[in-house]
C-alpha cells in the first residue's frame, strides 16, 4: 500500500517491492504489450509471409498517428483535450512541404526546426485561449480546429509542395537489422528526448497534478495557467511532428486534416489515458496505435471488407472503454 501510491516514480527505490508496484501501476500498458505480441503472432499465423518488409510498412504508416496520439495524451493528462490535433498536423504538413520544395539540405533542416516551433506556438495559442477565456477546452479546440484547418488551406489549396529527400530517407527502410524500421527509431528517439526528461522534471509532475485536480495543484503553488499552456504547446509540437511525418511519408503536403484527431482520442483511451486527466503515459497510446493498425492489417489479410473493419475498430474502442469503466466501478465498490 505504502509503496508506489502517490509517489514520484523512483523516489524510494527498493528492488522487488518496487518492481511489483511498477507492474501494478502499469498493468494496462503491460496488458497492451501482451495484446500487441498476440496480434503479431496472429498476423504471422494468418499470413506466414508477413515479415520484416511488413513491419517496415507498418512503422511508416503508423508514424503520423503515433505522434498524434502522443500529442493528445499529453494534453489529456494535463486535464484538457485538443480537437485541433488533426488541423495542426495539416498546417505543419503544408508549411513544411511548401517551404522545403526544391531546397537544399541546410534550408530543409531549418524548415523542420521552424515547423516544430510553429507547432509549439500554435499549440500555445490554443492553450492561451483556453486559459484566458475560461471556455471549456473542447469548445476552444473545436473552434480552433476550423482556424488551423483554414490556415492550412490558405497556404496550400491542394496536396502539393515537396519533401526533402533526407527527410523521406530518415523514416523509410531499416537501420541495422531489417526488423528494426527507422520510423520506429525516430518515434522512440523523439519521445525519449522530449517527453521522458520532462516527465521526470517538476514540470512533468505539475502536468499530472493539474490533470488530477486543478484546485489541489493551485493550492500546492503550481502555476495552473502556465502549466496548461505548456501542455498545449507540447501537443502542438508533437502534432507538428505528426505533420512532418505526413509530409515525409507521402512526399507532399496534405492540406485536409484526415481523421487523425478522432483516431488520436481513440488511441489514448485504448492506451490507458483517463479522459478525466492525471492518469496514463505516452507508451500505452503508441502501443494502442500499433495494435489498431495490426487489427486492420489482419482483417485485410482475412479478406474482410475494409469498411467492416472500421466498424470493428469502433466496437473494439467501445468494448475496451466499457471494460475499463466496469473495472473502475468494481474497484470503487470493493
Amino acid at each position: 500500500m505504502s509503496a508506489g501510491i502517490g509517489m514520484v516514480p523512483g523516489a524510494r527505490a527498493r528492488s522487488g517491492d518496487t518492481a511489483g508496484a511498477w507492474a501494478r501501476r502499469n498493468v494496462w500498458t503491460l496488458g497492451l504489450i501482451g495484446l500487441l505480441l498476440a496480434f503479431l503472432a496472429l498476423t504471422k499465423v494468418i499470413q506466414p509471409n508477413y515479415g520484416a518488409p511488413g513491419i517496415q510498412g507498418l512503422a511508416i504508416s503508423i508514424l503520423p498517428i503515433a505522434f498524434a496520439a502522443v500529442a493528445q495524451a499529453i494534453v489529456v493528462i494535463s486535464g484538457g483535450i485538443d480537437l485541433s490535433v488533426g488541423s495542426m498536423m495539416a498546417l505543419a504538413s503544408v508549411t513544411s512541404a511548401v517551404l522545403m520544395k526544391d531546397q537544399g539540405d541546410v534550408i530543409g533542416v531549418a524548415v523542420v526546426v521552424g515547423v516544430l516551433l510553429l507547432g509549439a506556438t500554435v499549440g500555445a495559442i490554443n492553450g492561451g485561449l483556453v486559459v484566458a477565456t475560461k471556455v471549456p477546452d473542447i469548445v476552444v479546440t473545436l473552434a480552433m480546429s476550423f482556424v488551423w484547418a483554414g490556415t492550412a488551406l490558405l497556404i496550400l489549396n491542394t496536396p502539393g509542395g515537396g519533401a526533402a529527400p533526407w527527410l523521406m530517407a530518415i523514416i523509410s527502410g531499416p537501420l541495422g537489422s531489417p526488423w528494426l524500421p527507422k520510423a520506429l527509431i525516430v518515434l522512440a528517439v523523439v519521445v525519449a528526448v522530449v517527453w521522458l526528461p520532462l516527465r521526470r522534471s517538476t514540470m512533468g509532475l505539475a502536468l499530472y497534478a493539474v490533470g488530477s485536480s486543478r484546485l489541489a495543484a493551485f493550492r500546492s503553488g503550481i502555476a495552473v495557467g502556465r502549466t496548461k499552456i505548456i501542455a498545449y504547446a507540447l501537443t502542438g509540437f508533437f502534432s507538428a511532428m505528426g505533420g512532418l511525418a505526413l509530409t515525409a511519408s507521402g512526399g507532399v503536403g496534405a492540406p485536409v486534416p484526415g481523421s487523425y484527431t478522432l483516431q488520436s482520442v481513440a488511441a489514448i483511451v485504448l492506451g490507458g489515458v483517463s479522459l478525466a486527466g492525471g492518469r496514463g503515459g505516452v507508451l500505452g497510446p503508441i502501443i494502442a496505435v500499433i495494435v489498431l493498425a495490426l487489427v486492420r492489417i489482419d482483417l485485410t489479410f482475412l479478406g474482410v471488407d475494409p469498411n467492416l473493419s472500421t466498424a470493428i475498430q469502433g466496437v473494439i474502442l467501445i468494448g475496451v472503454v466499457m471494460f475499463g469503466s466496469l473495472v473502475a466501478m468494481r474497484k470503487v465498490r470493493a
Partner: protein, 336 residues
C-alpha cells in the same frame, strides 16, 4: 482592483439611463436571446449592404430551409450538452437514416422505408444511451465509437445494395426542399412542432427539468431519487431520432443520399448550440438560443459566400467567431 470597479459599476447600473456594461451583462446572462437576435439582424443587414436586394422572401425561405436540418441536429447537441454530454454520432446516424430511407424506398415504398430508418437510428440511440448511462462510458468516446460503427456498417450495406440504387421519394423532396407561397419552406411543417415540443418541454415538463438537474449536479440528481441512467437512455434515443429526421430532411433538400451525407454538419451543430448559449459543461442553456445560433451560422455562411471569401478564410472566421461568442458567454455567466 478590477473586481471592486466591477461591483461599483453594477451598483450604479439601475440608475444609469443608458445601458451600461453590467446591464448588458445581465441581459446576456438572463435573456441571451436578445443579443443573439441583434447579432442575427446585424448579419442580415451587412448581407443586404454587401449585395443590395438579396434579402427578400425567397432568400428567407432558402435560408430557413438550410438552417432547419442544422437546427434539428443542434437540438441533439443542446439536449446532450444540458446533461454534460455531447453526441458526435449525429452525423453518422443522420446519414444512415437518409441512406436507409433512400435505398429501401426503391422496393418498399416511402412509409416503410422511413420506418426502417427511424427504427435503425433509435436502436443506435439505445446502444449509446445504455453505454453512457449504465456503463458510464464517456459520451464523447461512446458517440465517436458509435459513428465509426455506423459508418462502417453502412459502407458494407452500401456495397450490398449497389444494384438497388437510391431514390428520394417525392414527398420527402417536397418536405426538404419545397417552398410554399414564395417564402415558407415546407420543412417548417416538421420543424415547428419539434421546436415547440423541445422549447416548452425543457422549461415545463418534469423530464426537461431532469435534464438540467443531471447536468447541473449528477450526484445531487441521483441522491434526490432520479434514475440518471433512464434519463440518459431516453435522451440519446431522442437525439438519434431527431438526427434521423434531420438526415431525411437533408436527403430531401439535396435530393441525394450517401453514407456520409451529414458528416460535415457535426461540428457546426455543436457550434450552433454553443453560440445559442448552451454550456457544454451542462445545466445551462435552452433550445430557442440554439435555433437562432443555427440561423446565425447559416446567414454567416451566405455572407462569406457573397463576399467571395475563399473557403479557407470562411473556416478561419467561423472558428474565431465561435471562440469569441463562447468567451463572451463565459465572461458574463462567470462560469469557469
Amino acid at each position: 482592483m478590477t473586481r471592486t470597479a466591477g461591483t461599483a459599476r453594477s451598483a450604479d447600473a439601475p440608475r444609469s439611463p443608458l445601458l451600461s456594461g453590467s446591464a448588458w451583462r445581465r441581459i446576456i446572462r438572463d435573456r441571451p436571446l436578445i443579443p443573439l437576435v441583434i447579432l442575427l439582424v446585424v448579419l442580415v443587414a451587412v448581407l443586404e449592404l454587401a449585395k443590395p436586394g438579396i434579402v427578400n422572401g425567397n432568400w428567407a425561405a432558402t435560408t430557413m430551409r438550410t438552417a432547419i436540418p442544422l437546427a434539428i441536429l443542434a437540438a441533439c447537441q443542446t439536449l446532450a450538452m444540458l446533461t454534460g454530454g455531447i453526441d458526435l454520432s449525429v452525423g453518422a446516424v443522420a446519414s444512415m437514416a437518409a441512406f436507409l430511407m433512400a435505398t429501401q424506398a426503391t422496393g418498399q415504398g416511402a412509409v416503410v422505408a422511413i420506418a426502417i430508418a427511424l427504427v435503425a437510428c433509435a436502436f443506435a440511440g439505445v446502444v449509446n444511451g445504455v453505454a453512457i448511462g449504465v456503463f458510464k462510458v464517456h459520451p464523447l468516446i461512446m458517440t465517436l465509437g458509435m459513428s465509426l460503427v455506423v459508418l462502417g456498417l453502412m459502407s458494407v450495406y452500401q456495397l450490398a445494395m449497389v444494384q438497388s440504387g437510391t431514390l428520394v421519394p417525392d414527398p420527402i423532396q417536397w418536405l426538404g426542399s419545397g417552398i410554399s407561397f414564395g417564402f415558407v419552406p415546407n420543412s417548417l411543417v416538421v420543424f415547428v412542432p419539434i421546436a415547440i415540443l423541445i422549447v416548452i418541454g425543457l422549461r415545463r415538463s418534469g423530464y426537461g427539468r431532469l435534464l438540467f438537474a443531471v447536468g447541473d449536479n449528477p450526484i445531487a440528481a441521483r441522491l434526490s431519487g432520479t434514475r440518471v441512467w433512464q434519463v440518459l437512455v431516453a435522451l440519446y434515443v431522442m437525439s438519434a431520432i431527431l438526427a434521423a429526421i434531420a438526415g431525411i430532411l437533408i436527403a430531401g433538400l439535396l435530393n441525394t443520399a450517401t453514407v456520409s451525407l451529414v458528416e460535415q454538419s457535426v461540428l457546426p451543430s455543436v457550434a450552433a448550440a454553443v453560440i445559442g448559449g448552451t454550456s457544454i459543461i451542462g445545466g445551462r442553456g435552452g433550445y430557442a438560443g440554439t435555433i437562432v445560433g443555427a440561423l446565425i451560422l447559416t446567414v454567416l455562411t451566405t455572407l462569406l459566400t457573397v463576399l467571395e471569401m475563399p473557403e479557407a478564410v470562411r473556416q478561419v472566421l467561423f472558428g474565431a467567431i465561435i471562440v469569441a461568442v463562447a468567451a463572451a458567454y463565459t465572461r458574463v455567466t462567470g462560469e469557469s
